[in-house]
């Protein structure tokens, strides 16, 4: 078979999503002509489709070394960097592609998406508009523009753009997904749900639409909705703010401690604020799993959850319910008469509640092999917690020691940011 028909076949197979069949054709073409630019670019696309971004980038760099005037190669290279979140390189290569061929709307649309991820919303909007000047119906550019407008809080313009994108191509999963996320960010979770469902109908394997659908469904629970709005707000603030946030939190924490050491009403205020803070922390750990637990009772939600999400939900909620129940029993017990078991019950209740954190952060089905140290630490923590729980019942004397050990391990887990995903 000659190289041209090999490449044509490979291109077709890639478009049909048959990566493995395409690979053999591309390799055969490269064997015939190792320096064929088209073959190398197809190889890069094959690697990108198989989520092997480093290999893909290497292949397209080879193609560029063969033909440094092909704008599409630079576009592909930028795509690889974008997927790897190396945004500066992505921008550089897209600008190179645009300088080689300034008439391709797709290049501008892609550049706009990179800038969106850099939180450079104004620039993204400008680029998307440039792309739309070339092709007013270009769906990527319309989506980038709509997202940029939404982030800039120009909601009306955003919705107008989204509607024109839909009018252009009502069967485009990307458009429906973008609209879904934009609506979700505006707090219109019911509408978002509809668009995510539509996107999934068109492409049931669309990952972003699926996670969007889950978020939309969970947003039916108010505290979750607030938390989601908060995380949108944080993520829109740009990197500087995200770096500054822990410092702000630390300062307010010091202030709180200062307040609680004061006398009279300031101390009470400090304790109340501190209590609210701790409540918020606990809620933010567990609300995701609690929301997932509620999803288990929703017909659509039930099947959208992954295995890990489902089991996290079940274990976290069980731990919370058990812990709170034990704590209630302990409180009622002290109200009646001080039983010798009361401190143990309190300890057990606290351990149960705190177990929710590592339980929500590990992968299911449980396995110690092939895991990073974070997961292993979390697993050990859960094991330690369960052992100390057993000790409360069987060997109360040992339990104090274990409780302390668990407490230290838990604090290390929490404060070292292991829990932060």
């Amino acid at each position: 078979m000659n190289i041209q028909s090999l490449l044509e076949r490979a291109g077709l197979l890639l478009e049909q999503g048959r990566h493995k069949d395409a690979e053999t054709h591309i390799r055969e073409a490269l064997r015939l002509e190792p320096g064929n630019g088209t073959a190398l670019s197809l190889m890069a696309r094959f690697h990108f489709d198989s989520k092997q971004f480093d290999e893909g980038i290497a292949a397209i760099q080879n193609a560029i070394s063969v033909d440094s005037q092909n704008s599409f190669y630079f576009y592909l290279l930028a795509f690889g960097y974008y997927q790897k979140d190396q945004l500066t390189q992505a921008v550089t290569n897209l600008e190179k592609a645009i300088s080689l061929n300034p008439y391709v709307a797709e290049y501008f649309g892609m550049l706009a998406f990179v800038l969106l991820r850099e939180k450079n919303f104004e620039a993204a909007l400008a680029r998307a508009d440039e792309g739309l000047a070339l092709d007013p119906t270009h769906v990527t550019c319309l989506n980038a523009r709509a997202t940029a407008l939404n982030k800039l809080r120009r909601t009306d313009d955003a919705f107008e753009t989204m509607n024109s994108a839909l009018a252009e191509d009502p069967e485009n999963e990307l458009t429906h997904t973008t609209i879904g996320w934009n609506l979700l960010e505006r707090g219109r979770n019911r509408d978002a749900e509809r668009h995510f469902m539509e996107a999934l109908r068109i492409d049931p394997n669309h990952a972003s639409a699926k996670s969007g659908l889950k978020e939309a469904l969970k947003s039916r629970i108010l505290p979750y909705k607030w938390l989601l709005q908060y995380s949108f707000w944080i993520s829109n603030k740009g990197r500087n703010f995200q770096v500054a946030l822990p410092i702000i939190l630390y300062i307010s924490f010091r202030v709180l401690i200062g307040l609680s050491r004061g006398s009279g009403s300031t101390a009470v205020l400090g304790w109340i604020l501190g209590g609210i803070y701790i409540l918020m922390v606990v809620v933010s750990w567990t609300i995701g799993s609690i929301a997932n637990f509620v999803l288990l009772f929703n017909r659509t939600g039930k099947y959208a959850l992954t295995h890990t999400e489902r089991w996290s939900a079940i274990t976290v909620v069980s731990a919370l319910v058990a812990g709170i129940a034990i704590l209630l029993v302990a409180t009622l017990g002290t109200a009646d008469s001080a039983s010798p078991y009361t401190p143990y019950l309190f300890g057990a209740g606290l351990v149960c509640v705190s177990l929710a954190l590592p339980l929500g952060n590990i992968e299911y089905p449980l396995s110690f092999a092939n895991k990073g140290w974070r997961d292993r630490y979390a697993l050990l923590l859960v094991a330690l917690g369960l052992v100390s729980l057993a000790c409360f019942a069987l060997a109360p004397a040992l339990s104090l020691f274990l409780l302390v050990a668990y407490g230290i391990a838990f604090l290390v887990y929490n404060w070292s940011g292991i829990a932060g995903r």
Binding site: S5, E8, R9, L12, L13, E15, Q16, G17, R18, D21, E171, M197, L200, R201, I202, P204, N205, K210, R299, Y303, A304
Partner: protein, 436 residues
């Protein structure tokens, strides 16, 4: 006596040189008298007057054949390939053999044998029907290269383990109408149309298609992914038409399209009108607008039913869409037994193996046995004696080989959940035990 006649006729021809039938008659007589040089002159004269006269062409080819001009004869036979008589075909095959085009010769001979199973020609048989290894090798190459080759599968439904539901569907849709045409006519049930089989890879879609052909003693033409791709790239619709024509000529015939989704390509491509022509041609052929599809049974298989153009599923086309699921426990047990057949094996607990291999496809089970066999080979070599396979070796291999169907189900599940408007994927939901 004949010579006398010829002489007289030649004289008559001298008076009316334009008389084509007369000249043909003379030439034919000359052929019978083995006067090849003279006959060839007459045939050429006929062709001068009536260009493209088939009789004359074939006569000329016969002359060429007997005078040793094999390449000239081959050219003529090639042009008239579809209209050759048995005797012509035999000569064509012999020319090809002389020209050393063994592949082509073998193909033609096999086709001829299909049409006339009792036929035999000692000269050709001596060259092409070599017993032993040589012939086997040729036949193997044959399978790879000649893609539209007509086969006559020997597999029957009884050879297919499990798949009861699929067999029943095929039976009611394809086999019964063929066996009881009057009954179906009485109920006004139209025969025809096709069946689309879908399911994870390696679960026997191709095998059941072959067995369908075997069951009704029909010929079998398999069109694979690469043939379909060629249609996209080259001057394709013609190829498609030729395949259908071959099937019609060979009726009863099962025409099987593997990976038929490649015909539809991806959604975005469909908008490009240039790409639609293959699909349109396919639909036209299936509908049998210009040619009747009587006796042609069309089966198709795909791993990606969601990529199959919805137009394929309209009534009269692939109006039955059947899910071919991975083998159930009983079928798995049968497969394991047959895979281990003839291999050194100890006391194997087939039931346990079958129970532990849920969602494994036939191909997966084969891989499992291969892994275990390799391990045992290594062990036997180091120990210097044959170590029989044990249940635990196979169970270990099961752990090493994850079923390849999982990936397929991960994707199929999403389609069944989110894109199941017409209930097309209800079978998948049922198999995965999902209640919507």
């Amino acid at each position: 006596m004949q010579n006398e006649t010829i002489k007289n006729l030649l004289e008559a021809l001298a008076f009316s040189p334009q008389n084509v039938p007369l000249r043909l008659h003379v030439a034919t007589l000359m052929l019978e008298e083995k006067m090849y040089a003279e006959a060839s002159e007459q045939f050429q004269a006929v062709l001068e007057h009536s260009y493209g006269n088939e009789k004359a062409q074939l006569g000329l080819a016969t002359c060429y054949f007997h005078t040793g001009k094999f390449s000239a004869a081959t050219i003529i036979y090639e042009q008239l390939q579809d209209r050759l008589t048995t005797a012509d075909t035999v000569r064509y095959i012999k020319c090809l053999i002389k020209e050393n085009a063994m592949h082509h010769a073998l193909e033609l001979y096999q086709q001829l044998l299909l049409l006339q199973p009792g036929f035999s020609d000692p000269e050709i048989d001596g060259l092409l029907r070599v017993s032993g290894q040589g012939a086997g090798m040729v036949a193997e190459e044959e399978e790879e290269d000649d893609r539209y080759f007509l086969q006559k599968p020997k597999e029957r439904f009884a050879d297919v383990g499990g798949m009861q539901r699929v067999k029943e569907e095929i039976s009611i849709k394809i086999i019964q109408p063929l066996n009881n045409p009057d009954l179906f006519k009485a109920f006004g049930k139209k025969t025809g149309g096709g069946i689309l089989l879908y399911g994870p890879p390696g679960c026997g879609k191709t095998f059941i298609a072959r067995a369908t052909a075997g069951e009704i003693n029909a010929r079998f033409i398999s069109v694979g992914l690469h043939d379909i791709l060629d249609m996209w790239i080259g001057n394709s619709e013609k190829n498609l038409h030729e395949i259908f024509q071959l099937a019609r000529r060979s009726a009863p015939c099962v025409l099987f399209f593997d990976e038929v989704d490649a015909m539809g390509a991806s959604r975005s491509d469909l908008k490009q009108s240039a790409m639609r022509h293959v699909i349109n041609q396919f639909l036209e052929e299936m509908d049998g607008i210009n040619n009747s599809n009587d006796g042609v049974l069309i089966l198709a298989a795909t791993n990606a039913p969601w990529s199959v153009d919805p137009a394929f599923r309209r009534p009269g086309r692939f109006d039955r869409v059947i899910f071919v699921e991975p083998p159930d426990q009983k079928a798995r047990q049968e497969i394991i037994v047959s895979l281990l057949n003839g291999k050194p094996a100890g006391d194997i607990d087939h039931g346990k193996l079958a129970a532990d291999t849920e969602k494994y496809s036939g191909a997966d089970l084969k891989a499992v046995v291969d892994i275990a066999v390799e391990e045992k080979l290594r062990e036997s070599m180091s120990k210097g004696s044959i170590q029989p396979l044990q249940t635990k070796d196979l169970l270990k291999a099961v752990k090493q080989h994850r079923p390849t169907t999982l990936e397929w189900f991960a994707s199929a599940r999403n389609y069944a959940l989110y894109a199941n408007e017409s209930g097309l994927y209800d079978d998948i939901l049922k198999y995965l035990n999902i209640k919507k």
